[in-house]
């Protein structure tokens, strides 16, 4: 019998800070240093957005996510819709079709009922659009001031799509990196919707269910797909850095090929932010074998909402474990994971 060694908790930071929930380096330290050693069954699986479990011989994909957003509704969406799309997307990029969800609402005492009703409706509409059933839930109310209006936690299960296996270790030099559309819309929309910066722009969150796009991609290029991820918090840079670390290869992006809308670019310039670090809620990244790249792109372009998909880069041996961005004139820079939340800078 193998000896069981005591789990090693490496997370030594004295308190939890916002950065630990921001999806970047600090989040990763917390997960790998505290949650994985104490909760994981011990296999060194990569930390994807959803996992596969086998129950009575059936393969099931499962994911969970919590939704905390301020303001609750914003141009292009709201928390109820976000909860459905986010859950479906986590399942989709792990190669599964979401079938059922359970949701928990944590409500602050004093929350106006009409706000709650609006979000429950938004959730129902989003679920119908995405083709997922909401089969159960729970409600908790906490004292006034102990929560910020409303939090939603959602768990989804899904059926694996046939003919696809997502594994960062199957990524090879030469593979192409595909992005489904323009980046940063969600993060910048939320930042502006908070009103603290006094910026105005005609911008909407990109929140949507990306399952139809993923299904089209899998149908066209299933065996060629090596990895997928929806670049939410921490943006494209963080997702690709995680991939680079997991597959121990370098990801090379061509900056001019990364689609960014004008208003996102403008806000990022004003605030000194990098669009590659801004959150998305309706885009995904796919790494595909080079011989499947054109097929993949065509499939996305033929699907509703996939017209702006682009090949934004490729996988190389070097710089191993990192993401390198090259400009149109041959300059290059390393882009790291985001540290904490994106903060506007003046310097």
């Amino acid at each position: 019998m193998a000896e069981i060694s005591a789990p090693v908790v490496r997370f030594r930071e004295p308190q939890i800070e916002m950065a630990h929930g921001a999806g970047g380096k600090a989040s990763r330290r917390l997960i790998e240093g505290l949650f994985v050693p104490l909760l994981s069954s011990g296999t060194a699986e990569s930390l994807g957005d959803a996992v596969r479990v086998e129950i009575s011989g059936a393969q099931i994909a499962i994911t969970t996510d919590s939704f905390v957003v301020k303001p609750l509704s914003f141009p292009g969406g709201s928390i109820g819709e976000l909860a459905v799309n986010g859950t479906m997307n986590d399942l989709a990029v792990s190669g599964a079709r979401g079938e059922a969800m359970v949701v928990t609402y944590v409500l602050e005492e004093g929350l106006p009922t009409n706000l709650l009703e609006a979000e429950v409706r938004a959730m129902g509409d989003a679920a119908r659009r995405a083709g997922v059933r909401i089969v159960g839930g729970d409600t908790k109310v906490v004292e006034h001031g102990k929560a910020d209006r409303m939090y939603i936690s959602a768990t989804g299960i899904g059926r694996p799509l046939p003919g696809i296996k997502i594994d960062p270790l199957s990524v090879r030099p030469g593979d192409r990196v595909i992005l489904s559309g323009p980046i940063g819309d969600h993060g910048i929309t939320i930042l502006l919707a908070r009103g603290e910066l006094d910026f105005e722009a005609d911008l909407r969150s990109d929140t949507r269910c990306i399952l139809p796009l993923v299904e089209a991609l899998v149908k066209a290029a299933g065996p060629g797909i090596h990895w997928m991820r929806d670049p939410t918090r921490g943006g494209v840079a963080t997702s690709l850095n995680e991939l680079a670390r997991d597959c121990r290869l370098g990801i090379n992006l061509l900056e001019d090929n990364v689609p960014v809308r004008d208003a996102v670019r403008g806000a990022c310039e004003l605030l000194g932010l990098d669009p590659l670090h801004i959150a998305n809620e309706g885009q995904f990244l796919a790494v595909v074998a080079p011989e499947y790249a054109d097929l993949s792109l065509n499939a996305l372009h033929m699907t509703d909402g996939g017209q702006e998909a682009r090949i934004i880069g490729d996988v190389r041996e070097q710089p191993a474990g990192s993401v390198l961005v090259t400009t149109g004139y041959g300059g290059s820079r390393i882009v790291d994971m985001l540290v904490g939340d994106p903060l506007p800078r003046i310097c």
Binding site: Q15, I16, E17, M18, A19, K25, A26, E32, E196, L197, D198, R245, R248, E269, L271, G272, Q318, P319, A320, G321, S322, L324, T326, T327, G328, Y329, G330, G331, S332, R333, I334, V335, D336, V339, G340, L343, P344, R345, I346, C347
Partner: protein
């Protein structure tokens, strides 16, 4: 014209870089200092080192207000923030800067009211909106930023807003350049002048560098083509045996600067006799304080300021990196004990600090070994 994309034109960049290679003497090694941290950031952000001739070395200067701010001033500011009813307002750049008892963000985690503002006028707006609280704005920056703080204080006084104050940490660039040139181990051929500071102070204040030190200064914009053209102008001066002040950034920088901005600064600020710079030590007449006429809005006069002094860790070689004697990666702490997430030294603190910029954008480009998974 958008005044941005035009100056990132790949074709013209390639051609300008060719011209640079033609003008640079292959037998020489050139050392130019870009004074401004914004330039440092741009050099890495745009990967300009990849297009410059190898024998042109860019030394990153002291123009990063976050980097040169001594840790004691952060402690002082946060000690005021811990007083009841105080809102601590600062630019996003300050939020992760460590004091001895943690950064502003860590104080926020403990319940201190810490707010990120985009503008000093937004801090004043917070004061208007929260009459029952006191809003203290932690002001940092060189002459680019100081006029905005000054005008905000002028407006606060005119409106009689009394629940607002400024903790003034504004510094001036010329004394810092002088301190660097006075350093005995300094070898520089020319300066890329700080474009945005110069919109306020103009180009005349650099004249002594050309006259007394015989070094060219080219005031430069921040787009790739601006910086390449500035280096081109420096090379032309050097090849002609000249040392002059030139203004590459004419579209933005008037030779005489901005009189209204200088007037606002003179109305509100006066020079401090001396001020401590992280990495450079005490420099006389290098910083601004708030005049007594504005005492009511001066956090240092309204609050008890402990006046904390923190000595930088000896092992951190920020001063040498700041003066260009060492490259960031040559510092003993670089990348091990000192990283952007856990900065020990000044230059790792802000994204435009030369160490942080090097770490974020350049470092791993040259690392050939693969990164081992966490054991």
């Amino acid at each position: 014209m958008r005044f941005v994309d035009e100056f990132r034109n790949p074709e013209i960049i390639t051609r300008t870089a060719e011209e640079l290679r033609r003008l640079a003497d292959p037998a020489r090694h050139y050392r130019f200092m870009e004074v401004c941290g914004g330039h440092t950031h741009a050099i890495y952000r745009f990967g300009l080192k990849d297009v410059l001739p190898r024998n042109i070395e860019l030394i990153h200067g002291p123009g990063c207000p976050v980097c040169v701010l001594p840790m004691g001033r952060i402690d002082d500011g946060l000690s005021m923030a811990r007083e009841s009813n105080v809102v601590f307002a600062a630019f996003g750049d300050m939020m992760r800067v460590p004091g001895t008892q943690g950064s502003p963000l860590q104080h926020k985690a403990h319940g201190v009211d810490v707010r990120v503002v985009y503008s000093p006028s937004d801090a004043l707006k917070l004061a208007r909106a929260n009459p029952d609280k006191h809003v203290m704005f932690f002001a940092i920056g060189f002459e680019t930023t100081a006029p905005s703080t000054a005008l905000t204080l002028i407006r606060a006084k005119a409106e009689g807003i009394r629940n607002f104050s400024v903790f003034c940490n504004h510094v001036t660039i010329i004394p810092a350049i002088r301190a660097i040139l006075d350093s005995p181990d300094m070898r520089l051929d020319a300066f890329i002048g700080p474009g945005h500071v110069s919109t306020v102070i103009g180009c005349r204040p650099y004249e002594w560098i050309a006259v007394n030190e015989r070094k060219p200064v080219v005031v430069s914009g921040f787009e790739p083509l601006d910086m390449l053209q500035s280096i081109l102008m420096i090379l032309r001066q050097m090849n002609a045996g000249e040392a002059r002040i030139e203004n590459q950034y004419k579209r933005v920088v008037p030779w005489e600067g901005n009189r209204a901005a200088l007037k606002a600064m003179a109305e509100v600020f006066q020079l401090r006799p001396y001020f401590e710079w992280r990495g450079l030590g005490f420099i006389s007449q290098s910083a601004l304080r708030i005049r007594d006429e504005y005492a009511e809005w001066d956090a240092e006069q309204r609050f008890h300021v402990p006046g904390i002094r923190v000595t930088d860790p000896k092992a951190a070689q920020c001063g040498e990196v700041l003066k260009g004697v060492l490259k960031p990666a040559q510092c003993k702490l670089f990348g091990c004990e000192c990283t952007p997430e856990h900065p020990v030294g000044a230059l790792m603190v802000s994204t435009e600090g030369s160490c942080a910029a090097y770490y974020n954008y350049e470092h791993r480009k040259t690392m050939v070994t693969s990164i081992a998974p966490v054991a």
